[in-house]
Symmetry: C3
Subunit: 138 residues, 3 copies
Amino acid sequence: MKVYTREIVLSTNKKFQLIDITYEVEKIVEDSGVKNGMVLVFAPHATAAIIANEHESGLMEDIITKIKELTEPGSSKWKHNLIDDNAHAHIGSALIGADRVFPVINGRLVRGTWQNIFLVEMDGPRSRRHVIVTVIGE
Amino acid sequence: MKVYTREIVLSTNKKFQLIDITYEVEKIVEDSGVKNGMVLVFAPHATAAIIANEHESGLMEDIITKIKELTEPGSSKWKHNLIDDNAHAHIGSALIGADRVFPVINGRLVRGTWQNIFLVEMDGPRSRRHVIVTVIGE
Amino acid sequence: MKVYTREIVLSTNKKFQLIDITYEVEKIVEDSGVKNGMVLVFAPHATAAIIANEHESGLMEDIITKIKELTEPGSSKWKHNLIDDNAHAHIGSALIGADRVFPVINGRLVRGTWQNIFLVEMDGPRSRRHVIVTVIGE
């Protein structure tokens, strides 16, 4: 059995942004030497999330629009905004989740044709966002 | 250590539909020979999702009602609808997630009494939807 | 390879409540002896969820406020409420998810500074809620 972990470090330049990390995750799976198993893509952040979906610019805007509607940035109803003006990002991260898991078959990460992997920035810009990729299998 | 993967192939016959795959997933866990570990239930689709909840027809309708309210099928505000009229399904898949992970104990998938496993179709009907089930453990 | 599973049993005393289980999960990871791998935190309940986010009382209230808005407790539009008055909790559990996965590196669960782990009670109070923690790795 093998366990292989590597970190992706990236920066974001907008308050809301989807950063495509598919290539980096696939490279880590390849480098891991794991033939069959699973891979965890995890963001150690309470104001970001991980999702899988299509890399189409209109849709990427739609996803951000929906996250804003769902989480209401700047709303005076959020008590956390009295401390730090990012309650929306915390709520988005909690509900969407900062972890996604994919199968690994024959040395490759399995995903649908339209499933690219994204870090969802909801409280940017940030100079250092991390994604931890853990591959486990044989 | 064992890794065992098998695919469930199914068709859907409505635009929105919950397909119960609990039995199939449990059978794969049983066939895997894994005694203790975990099982990943993964849909390689950007317009579907995987959830765990109660198989009660009223509730299954409620879940679909809520997904429609949350993702607004056909809305002119979705930019992706200029390309393909299914932005709602992409947004639902991204936010809900196409992966769910369950523990395996003593050779059985562990789930609550009311936690059946469903593929959530949001852009049907489709003649071929896939669910990849990966069991890992000892 | 090691697989180590333990159960946390807890009670809730409100209808909606976030119960911080970070310490218990970290202790299980430590006790597992797994140095590198991943850990699954899973609630075998269709009316609860698992999330990771900041333990700040205002934010914890905000998350509950958002879950109520999203799932509409007591709404007459939910068909499941004719059977059992908790459709909202089922919908919340289905959409948010009852599973979260974290990396394990050098014998420790990896999480962000502001990522505490919570059971989300949406249909309490309950005398016995369970969380199953499965650590897998080497």
